[in-house]
Structures are given as structure tokens and as C-alpha cells.
């Protein structure tokens, strides 16, 4: 259980006629990965120094303040507030703010994850410690809680705590408050340039290829995977030789059973959909199961496979089938919506 390297994950080729012209890692990619690794270690070191610096500055010795500060949790919190106030924290080049994510964003999400939705994770061993890898997930439930739960799952249940760069929808960065918090929790706007760059640097990227179509679909279509909006995730995976890991998330569909879509209101607010639900602010406490499928190798497709529309389509279709199977399998194991 302890060592789950990338080598341990069994990678299945998707098609039998996969060509044998295995793609080699280019020198550019090697350099990019080395640079990124160096930057990551620098960031980690700077973060550690910042933490040490604030710890040292906290009052020592007698007095009321240090008496209170003897509590390690309080010390930690005080240090955090101090670093925030002085601006002495580390943000990586894509805007991921590790400290903010761990101290502020994750705790409430974790409560939802553990207590409210009681998320069960399967197949975590299929997720490598290090990228490049592409997670392809189904998307559902009006409000994208599934993306948040994916973040918690990978942070809490994976031994290596990989940073997962979730590719958000187009409108995401135009929403006040949500936009910058999402970015600080390692989200970006889904686009080919970013995804390619991240994969070349050896990051793990998560995509929701159904897009808003999956999120806003009506309740009667639950757990029926929608047509993929874009197959960019396959293209970038092929280009960088990253394996695709299909992910099926069960439970998000029942958080807000959508009664109907109101296109007029959607147009009015400039949203992709406007789902009318009975319980809008409060999600229902459904039982969630997140399963990571076996990685699908994309290395065997040879160079320039990403420009072959048929190959891309076939792979995307295969991934879609696998996610659908994962969903059905896990649905059978759930007795009702709620447990």
C-alpha cells in the first residue's frame, strides 16, 4: 500500500491495434520537468523558511501571551494569520496557494466530504504520485461539488498528496470570489495551452470533458454520461504521452435534483444552464463513491496521433465507456441515494 509509484499502476492499452511506435519523451519535456521540479522544491523550501520565521517570532518565555501560545494549534493559527498579513507565503506560478488551501479551503470541504457525503474512495492506487497524468471525470449535480470532493479525495487519501490541476469551465474566472479561491486551490480555466504546459512539466491534470452539459442535465438523465464537449483532454494526453485515468463519481447527481432547466433565466444571467431545484442552497446528504479506474496508456499511439481526429475520438469514446461502467458498477452497490 505504501509504495504506489507510477510503475506500479497497471496501464492498459485501449485498442489492440495500438501502433508500436512508442512516443519518446522529448529533451524539451525533460528540461521542462526538471525546471518544474526545481521550482517546486524551491517553493517548498521557501514555505518552510516562512513557517520557521513566524514560529521564531512568536513570543517565548513567561507571560500571558506565551501561556496561551503554548497550545500548538493556536501557535499554528497565529503563525498562519501573521504570514497572511505580512504577505510572506508561497504561491506557485499557476497561482496554487498551498497554505491557504490547507488551512482555510480544505477544512470545511473535508467536513462535507467525511460527515455529510461520507465519500468512499476506490482505486486510489491507480493515481500516480507524480504526473504527467490526465484524470477524466464525469460531471454532475448543478453545483460543481464533485470537483471540490475530488480535490479533497486526492489530498487526504493519496499518500503523496499530489496537486491536481482541475480544468474549470470558461465562466469560472469571471465569478467574483469563486474565481480567485478556485485559482488558489489549483484550478485553471480549461484550455489547451495551460493543460499542455502543465503536463509537460509533469503535473496531474483533471478534466471534466462533459463540461456544463453534464452539470446542468436534468435529473431523469442522471448517471447517463453526456456527449463530451471537447476531446482536448485526449489530445493533450497524446501529445505528452500522459496516461488517462477515468474517474467515476457517484452521488453528486442527487445533491440537487434538477426539476427543469430554465433557458430564459440562463440567457438572462449569461449562464450555460439554469437548473431549477427544490433545495437550492442546501445539497442533499447523498452517499458518494469516487472510483479511479485503471490508467489508459497513450504512449503507444505514436507521434502526431493527436492530429488524427479518428484516433482522438476513439480514445475519448473508450474513456467514456469506462467511466459509464464505473458509474453503473458503483450505483449497484449503493442501496439508496443516502447510504
Amino acid at each position: 500500500m505504501a509504495e504506489r509509484g507510477r510503475g506500479d499502476a497497471r496501464v492498459i492499452p485501449l485498442t489492440s491495434e495500438a501502433r508500436r511506435k512508442a512516443r519518446r519523451v522529448t529533451p524539451n519535456e525533460v528540461a521542462a520537468r526538471a525546471r518544474a521540479a526545481q521550482r517546486r522544491s524551491q517553493n517548498r523550501e521557501r514555505g518552510r523558511q516562512n513557517r520557521m520565521a513566524t514560529l521564531e517570532r512568536l513570543p517565548e518565555g513567561g507571560g500571558l501571551v506565551s501561556g496561551v501560545m503554548a497550545d500548538p494549534r493556536l501557535r499554528r493559527m497565529a503563525g498562519f494569520v501573521r504570514r497572511r498579513y505580512a504577505g510572506e507565503y508561497v504561491v506557485d506560478e499557476y497561482g496554487f496557494d498551498e497554505e491557504l488551501t490547507e488551512e482555510v479551503l480544505l477544512p470545511p470541504l473535508r467536513a462535507l466530504y467525511r460527515r455529510y457525503w461520507r465519500v468512499e474512495v476506490r482505486g486510489m492506487r491507480h493515481v500516480p504520485d507524480e504526473g504527467p497524468a490526465v484524470l477524466a471525470c464525469n460531471h454532475s449535480g448543478v453545483v460543481p461539488w464533485d470537483a471540490a470532493m475530488l480535490l479533497v479525495a486526492l489530498h487526504d487519501e493519496h499518500p503523496a498528496k499530489p496537486i491536481v490541476r482541475i480544468q474549470g469551465a470558461d465562466g469560472l474566472m469571471n465569478m467574483p470570489v469563486v474565481s480567485h479561491l478556485a485559482r488558489k486551490a489549483a484550478n485553471t480555466v480549461a484550455n489547451e495551452v495551460d493543460a499542455l504546459r502543465m503536463l509537460q512539466e509533469g503535473e496531474i491534470v483533471a478534466a471534466f470533458p462533459e463540461g456544463s452539459r453534464g452539470l446542468g442535465k436534468s435529473f431523469k438523465d442522471r448517471y447517463r454520461l453526456q456527449r463530451f464537449r471537447r476531446n482536448t483532454f485526449v489530445e493533450v494526453a497524446l501529445q505528452t504521452g500522459a496516461p488517462i485515468i477515468p474517474v467515476g463519481i457517484v452521488g453528486a447527481e442527487e445533491t440537487y435534483p434538477s426539476i427543469t432547466d430554465v433557458p430564459v433565466l440562463a440567457r438572462l444571467f449569461g449562464l450555460p444552464y439554469f437548473a431549477l431545484t427544490a433545495n437550492m442552497p442546501v445539497p442533499l446528504p447523498s452517499k458518494w463513491i469516487v472510483e479511479f479506474g485503471e490508467p489508459i496508456s497513450t504512449e503507444a499511439f505514436g507521434p502526431d496521433a493527436e492530429s488524427d481526429a479518428m484516433t482522438v475520438f476513439n480514445i475519448a469514446d473508450g474513456v467514456r465507456d469506462i467511466i459509464q461502467q464505473i458509474l453503473y458498477r458503483n450505483l449497484l452497490q449503493r442501496r439508496t441515494w443516502f447510504w
Binding site: S179, K184, V193
Partner: protein
Amino acid sequence: MGRRVLITGVSRFLGALLAKRLERDPDVETIIGVDLQPPLTAFERVEVVRADIRNPLFVKVLQATGADTVVHANVVTDEFEMGRGAMKEVNVIGSMQLLAACQKSETLERVIVKSSTEVYGSEPNGPAFCTEDMGPLGPPKSGYHRDVLEVEQYARDFGRRRPDICLTVLRYSNILGNTVNNPVSQYLGQPVVPTVFGFDPRISFIHEDDALEVLVHAVGQEVPGIFNVVADDAVYLSQAIRLAGRIQAPVLPPAPVLAQRALRFLPFVELPDHLARYLTHGHVADNTRLKTVFGYEPRYTALDAVHDFALKKRAERIVREPTPPQWEDDLRRYIDRKLAEGPTTAGGG
């Protein structure tokens, strides 16, 4: 024979710095500084020509000086300095006339145009890093954005018509450091910094020392192409404000467009249009080509630039009116030289 360099916008920050830096360069034979305003500092070797680059007669200046390198550093960012109309005149008409004059020149070998990463614009859906081969991310929404796009269009046309001349376009991100005074430094220098509520853009800077060295490098080496001039990393606006020791004040209403308006008309901020948008969505340019093709490794990160800026602000709190020491020095040297030359030439000071 040394190089003959003509610098436009020599009375502006970067132009003046470059002229001063090239004065010390033995490879540079002549430096001609062109601007309408009188120069900020006293120069030793720079021949200052008070001419208008918008005037078609500028060709004559270029011919008479026989310059082999033109550095066009006269693109104005601050629309409150001269007003939007004049700014557009200087940026667009000025660049057009200058490049037209360059096109006719017989002696020119290199043209360096200082552009801005503002060509990408600030869009919520933009990528994390903009590379040089990208066009604008959306239609231009500010006057400055339009200006820069037009300047680059003229530069491209020029490059097509005179392929024999090495054309370098440098897309600068905002310059920050301990001396520069520009809209961004003024903005970050306020005791309370208003921001758009609910938005915290990733932004980046180039340290003023790096900004200068890149120009020097472009003058000295033949490096044709477009390059983003920006530090390696990006910072959040909120972190920059905290590091600078300022207080962030998010401004309502949350509707971003309205908040941008509000930001512009608050009495204590003078924010150019493009900056209001930049401070909502931001953009960060990628400097890989600067490091690999151009051959310059920025020495400062964006965080370092903010740190230097913060240091300057902290010093200002103690010393009200800081006198830049190098100016004093220059002035003394200038007077000494004038005195040594004798009373006939010393007048007019």
C-alpha cells in the same frame, strides 16, 4: 567604428536609464536622445535633440545623425500624464512616423520597439501564461490596448518591408523597483489600495534593473523577434499589496465593470483604463523565449521587485523627500565638466 544609437523618449524613465547606461559603454560611439520634453537628468555624452517623432521632418534627424540603431521607448502608458488624446497621438502617430522614417533610412541596422504585454489584454478566460505567438485574448477594451496593438502592427509592417533590418519587439510587463514611478507603482504606493471586490488577479512585474539590461542586451546583440520581458513568477495582487505594507480595500459593487469604474473615479487613484481591467483579471506573460532565444535570464523575480518597491516605500516613511544619489552625482560631474571646458561654453545652465 562604434554604434550610433538613437533613443526616442529619452526624457522618460527607461529611455533616460538606457541613455545613461550606454554612455558608459565604449562600444557605443554616439547616443542621440530624442524627446519633446527636456531630459530628466544631465547627460555626459548624449546629444539631446528636442524633436517630435510625430513630425514627418523627423526623417531628417535620422539621416543627419546617421544612426544605425533606433530604440523606440516612447510608448506612453499613463493616460493622465498628457490626456488620452495626446497619448494616442504620441503612441500611434509617433510610432507610425518613426517607423516610416526608419524605413527610408540607409544606415539603420537594428530597430528595437518597446511594446507591452498589454497586447494580450486581460481576460478571465486567458491562459495562465501568454506566449509570444498568441494574439490578443479578446477584443481591445482600453485605449492603451488598442494603441499597443497598432504599434505592433506598424512594427510588423516595417519588418516585412525592410527584412534587412533586425527588428526586436520587446513586450514589457509593468516595471517595478525602487526608483521607477509609473501608474502601477503609484497605485501600489497608496496607503490604502482599492481593489475590485471578489477578484484577485495574478500579475507579474519586471524589475527595473532587468528592464534596463534587456534593452542594453537588445542594443548590443542582434536578436530579431518578439519577446516578453517579464520575471519568472507571478504574484497575486493581494500578496503584492501585503508585501508592500499597504492595506487592501475591496471596492463594491461586485459587478466587475462597475467596480472598475468606481476604481477609476475615486479621488485618490488615477488608474488608466487598461490597468483597471488588468487589476481585475490580470495576465501573465511567459518568458521562456526571453531566456532561451533572446539570451537574457532575469535576475529578479516579481516577488523581488515587490520587495524592492516595499523597501523604498519604507524608506520614504522615514525620509520624506529622498534625493536619488546618482542624480546629485551626475549633476556634480556635469558641472565639473562644464567648468573644465571654460567659461565660454559653461553658460546657459
